[in-house]
Amino acid sequence: MIERTPVLNFVTHAILFTGLAILVLPIYLVVVAASQTLPDVMAIPAKLLPGDQLIVNLKAAWIQAEFATKFQNTIILATGVVVGKIVLAALTAFGIVFFNHRLRMPIFWMVFITLMLPLEVRIVPTYAVAANALSPFQTILDVTGLVWLINVTTGVEVALNWNLLNSYTGLIMPLVATATGTFLYRQFFLTIPDELVEAAKMDGAGPLRFLRDILIPLSTTNMAALATIMFVVGWNQYLWPLLIITDPAYGVAAVELSRMVPDSNTTGGDVPNWHFAMAGTLIVMLPPVVVVILMQRWFVRGLINTDK
């Protein structure tokens, strides 16, 4: 379209630039701080240009916070969440779209409801479950009297215990227990034409074959989108790891970051190592940002499809 709007174009660029600057400014300041020495960082008025200590500080922060271990754990966490979500969500969506049983809608709703309550609103009881993942079953057995029955007949005391604290399973499982991916898949599966299913049946394929040979290959873009989002979510996990991980060998990056600066805001006396802390911030920030930038198309598509 032919439109002569030089002034408006300039204004457009100005606005976009300003917006970008506002978003980037904090990070710029972080980079500046991460590249200065402690006296420089604490200087008043603050020095606004980057110093030359970036590599030094990054190294120091890496060692101080034991980021090597933390990164390893965080990668395991993120990957676990990605794989868990992708596989489970695909299976569940498959089960409710391509079969016609009465429980289809109830199962759909059951999964749907999990969308409404993110982990933050159920941390206390979820923690209790993580402490003993088999407690639900234990309770059920208790309540139904089966424990008593088994005890009386065989003399065996049933005490189920599976402690998930300080473990990878404990980190990953509760995060896999929500519906985001299932909806993405379900929406996509609903667009698969009936003819495709019928052709597969004529060719002699059973449901699992169909899933493996036809649905999964068709779902690759969805999977990429879901994987990108879930990776970012997994990497950035803070609250849940904070609660269930007390053993530093299992710590994750985001939690470690908060330990780099003491809790109370200190004004005098003990000066926090802001330059290390900011270097640490950069380190923790980098992987998911890189992933998002590289996979931006899938990322955006995944966001829009999971939430709309």
Binding site: V197, P207, Y238
Partner: protein, 293 residues
């Protein structure tokens, strides 16, 4: 409606079992437990728990501190939503013009979504620190004009700014997508009708963006109740003097620090209902308002 199904329902049962099992153990069971705990009280010194009906809730609702927390959470939710969505909408409207540099602007406005809450919290805590960092200059020039360590309002402002920064990208992505789903022929028709860029934004784009606005308002408000934990935890730990004690943080404090399981459970239940109500609202409204055919 679909006609083509597979007949083997046992396979169906098999494939949905894993997820159902996990959400039973890690979602429904804890939620049920929270309900149970909210209506009981643990006896001190062991001895099991006692059913107390609505007593926990009554105690909670008469507690000034709880209402303070609710008030702070509401202020936080509204402030971050308005700031984040306002900025995102303006940026999206102008980015949609797709002038030169569009791709760069787009990615530049999307990446903040990937930054973890504690990272944001820490970064802003540094920037707004009264004795180091950029804001310290203000205090140097005008002593003690900015002190989030002591002043509750300053602390809340700082937390709100951090929270809003976090949410801009998400809203931007959705606004941009909403704008791009408006058929190009509408823009062309209105251009032929004489409407210039700003007029088109006002008459055509904004009205057709209303479903997206509704959707994002609900999501932003809901998220601000839950996503805020990482920010508060790293920036202020709920202080000073509980000035930034958001509901989700209070649950954590009461439950894990104060070991008040019943109280934390009751608070969780209330927060759950709040979030459910908001989500319900969203689904009901968003379905109705879709404009384009």
């Amino acid at each position: 409606m679909r006609r083509a199904y597979f007949k083997n329902n046992w396979v169906a049962a098999l494939v949905v079992a894993p997820q159902l099992l996990i959400i039973f153990v890690f979602f429904y069971w804890p939620t049920g437990q929270a309900l149970y705990w909210a209506f009981t009280l643990e006896q001190p010194f062991g001895g099991g728990s006692e059913w107390v009906g609505f007593e926990n809730f009554q105690y909670l609702l008469s507690d000034g501190r709880y209402w303070d927390s609710v008030w702070i959470s509401t202020v936080y939710a509204l402030a971050t939503t308005v700031l984040a969505m306002g900025m995102a909408m303006i940026l999206a409207l102008f980015a949609d013009r797709q002038l030169r540099g569009y791709q760069s602007f787009r990615i530049g406005l999307i990446w903040p979504y990937a930054v973890a809450a504690p990272a944001i919290g820490l970064a802003f805590r540094f920037i707004f620190n009264p004795s180091a960092g950029v804001a310290s200059y203000l205090n140097y020039a005008f002593p003690d004009v900015w002190n989030p360590v002591m002043n509750g309002n300053h602390a809340l402002t700082m937390v709100i700014i951090a929270g809003a920064w976090k949410q801009v990208s998400y809203s931007f992505i959705f606004f941009l997508a909403g704008l791009q789903s408006i058929p190009r022929s509408l823009t062309e028709a209105s251009a032929i009708d004489g409407a210039r860029v700003m007029r088109r934004m006002w008459d055509i784009q904004l009205p057709l963006l209303t479903p997206t606005v509704f959707f994002l308002v609900i999501i932003n408000i809901t998220d601000s109740f839950t996503d805020s934990f990482g920010i508060v935890s790293t920036m202020t730990a709920g202080g000073p003097a509980r000035a930034t004690n958001l509901m989700v943080y209070k649950i954590y404090e009461d439950g894990f620090r104060g070991l008040d399981y019943s109280g934390a459970a009751a608070q969780s239940i209330i927060l759950m209902f709040l979030v459910i109500a908001l989500t319900f609202f969203q689904f009901k409204y968003v379905e109705r308002r879709v404009h384009y055919t």
